[in-house]
Symmetry: C2
């Protein structure tokens, strides 16, 4: 398996929409509405001033991430990312490769930290993955996510410095 | 002193912009860039699908708040608010009146909780005010705010249920 991570462009729109829709329709990890349209999804995934990458595995897009400033102005030294992996490529390290790539990119761009605002607590694979990548849970939002089968569950705020101090 | 809180409309734009600009130019409480323009400010303060109110004190706009959904989709039962008070009206309970009004409005609209994503830790008056209004610090974002005189300082995530369970 050869995994290549590169900036996304317009030729990736169809693959990104396919992955986004699959993830969001499951409604168990992201707060994007299940009925998000293709245009809305691509606007979210290619925000003004943001950075979008794809992971190609054996020539096909297997995952993607978007990075942007988490807060403007006096908070603009903290990055935010969202990651999605094609279900067919699950369990092959694509998410971790995307996360490690995004941390390197964020450092290169001068960000001092990265923050995830809304990690669904029952998405334990993601929580463990972010921990492995150096993130800590810095906040717990009680019952902030309406899980389709589990009801109201907590969401976490996760945070990682990029300056090597922790 | 008579304090009236009512929905904002286009006739309030000038007063809201004056207050917004004053607060944001100080750069010590909000992450909006100090150079935010009037049009950008009004777009932020009158978001699609949001609710904007003003407090009138003796007939003049003394403060304002904006309420919106904090996360879409499976997180849309949690509201988010931002509040700003005219410096000339500071210390007269306008902020607390706005907050209590917003909590009542959020309940009436069916929200289950309210979340503040980025309360600057050195803004102790605000932190104490939100505590008085029932909010708890549920997260601490290390050095997430670049204070103009204090350097990098923490920001808090604050949260309050609206269903009377705490």
């Amino acid at each position: 398996m050869v995994l290549t991570i590169r900036p996304a462009d317009v030729t990736d729109h169809e693959a990104i929409w396919r992955i986004f829709h699959e993830v969001v329709a499951a409604a168990d990890t992201y707060a994007y509405p299940a009925e998000t349209t293709r245009d809305e999804a691509l606007s979210l995934w290619f925000p003004c001033g943001g950075w979008t990458f794809v992971a190609e595995m054996d020539g096909a897009v297997a995952g993607t991430y978007v990075m942007k400033v988490n807060q403007p102005g006096q908070g603009s030294h903290v990055a935010n990312c969202g990651y999605m992996v094609d279900r067919a490529a699950s369990g092959q390290g694509v998410g971790e490769a995307l996360c490690r790539h995004s941390l390197a990119e964020a450092s290169r761009l001068g960000f001092r930290a990265m923050q995830f605002n809304f990690v669904v607590s029952t998405n334990t694979r993601a929580v463990e993955l972010w921990r492995r990548c150096g993130f800590a849970i810095v906040g717990t939002l009680p019952e902030a996510f309406r899980h389709p089968s589990l009801g109201l569950v907590d969401a976490y705020v996760m945070y990682r410095r990029l300056d090597g101090t922790d």
